[in-house]
């Protein structure tokens, strides 16, 4: 027999999956603009704001379900995890907006040099992680969620390589500062993808793991 709680959970899941699609679009757009030297900040900001508002909706829905139905066990586990995931998805949008903002404000939307192609490689891995995190959310795929840890280590490695490189880089100050902040935001997106992975493992197994 279907419970009233199930309908609420379904609604919450729908919000989260839609947020996932928007977050993916936001990050791809922001990174594309950054790498190609295009000003996409207005569109990215608008998408990021949509994610903020949807995150509030998701939290409202989650609290309503807890308050009305006092769920226990796996239902409560899912709702609590969904609150965290909504926050992670909102952060995806925020960091995408940060990248577009500094690109416009600090680098004046110019295409900054990336001599070692570290940013491009990092961006590719981050986009893969975002995609995997959303796919794992859709299917509650524990194995896919666990793969995020490995890619996150690779992103971290590239991030530190960029910081080492920046100490001796001979590119313009404007681009250097922009790039340093951009790689930081990419690294933070990767962190949130991994947090999502941890939440997905918890939803599916009840096991609290630290993937980082």
């Amino acid at each position: 027999m279907s419970r009233l709680l199930d309908a609420g959970l379904e609604r919450l899941t729908t919000i989260l999956l839609r947020m996932g699609e928007i977050a993916e679009e936001t990050i791809e757009l922001s990174i594309d603009g950054f790498l190609k030297g295009l000003d996409v900040s207005d569109r990215v900001r608008s998408l990021s704001e949509t994610l903020v508002s949807m995150s509030v909706d998701a939290e409202d829905k989650a609290f309503e379900l807890i308050a009305k139905y006092q769920p226990v066990a796996s239902d409560l586990r899912i709702i609590k995890s969904y609150i965290k995931i909504a926050h992670d998805l909102e952060r995806y949008g925020r960091y995408a907006w940060d990248i577009s903002f500094i690109h416009k404000r600090l680098a004046q939307s110019e295409r900054c040099e990336d001599p070692l192609v570290l940013i491009e490689r990092m961006s590719g891995k981050v986009i893969d992680m975002v995609h995997a995190s959303i796919e794992a959310l859709r299917s509650h795929d524990v194995e896919l969620a666990k793969t995020l840890a490995k890619t996150e280590n690779e992103v971290d490695e590239l991030y530190f390589q960029y910081l080492d490189f920046s100490a001796e880089a001979s590119i313009s100050t404007r681009c250097l500062v922009t790039n340093v902040l951009a790689v930081r935001y990419l690294e933070r997106i990767a962190d949130h993808a991994t947090y999502m992975g941890e939440s997905i493992v918890y939803i599916a197994t009840g096991e609290k793991v630290v993937l980082r």
Partner: protein, 222 residues
Amino acid sequence: MEKRSYSWFERRRRTEALNLAQNQITKALDTTALLDKAMQYFLAEKRKEAVQSIEKLFKTEEDVDSLRREIFKELSKGGALSAESREDLMHLVKRLDTLADYVKDAARCLKMLVDTNIPKELLENTGRMTSTLVKCATTLRGSIEKISEDPAVAIEKAKEVERTEHEIDQNYLDTKPLFIKYAQQMNPGSIVIFDDLIEFVEQAADMCADTADYIVILAGRE
């Protein structure tokens, strides 16, 4: 710190969750004052005192976090409060917990920068942001206190929180371009940490405004 009385809570039946929530709200808002204190010490080159304030802030934030867990545990038992009141309480508690979280993250960044030389203009801008954050939190506290007693005042104060948050936003946006001006005086690591610091302060202000939005809903129902 002084325990405040929030009449919105008083009007509802006394429960353990409500007592805990009052305490949690007070402590969450206190973290902003501790961050500002640390920041002002930092600006005055009193680094040891800055670290002491940061340590106190960490302890207060731990209390906020543990109170939030206790409150949610109490609320999940159901009990004396209606579903609507439970939901309202969860919203307030969660938002203020997140606010305190961001304040703690900002303090952690400040602590990491304690032995580095940061250009004064950057510090002064950030000092303005943390002082305005205290103003934001104080106004929010005033708004919460008035929800039941005078909903119109609560709403007016909530709007004032919004305006204060915009000031912080503007300061935040004005500070980032300064990284280019001072790039030669700072290593990339310090720039990243400093950027995190101002971002966390801005997010704490966002959460302050977000809580104020919720107060408008609560006051509207009174």
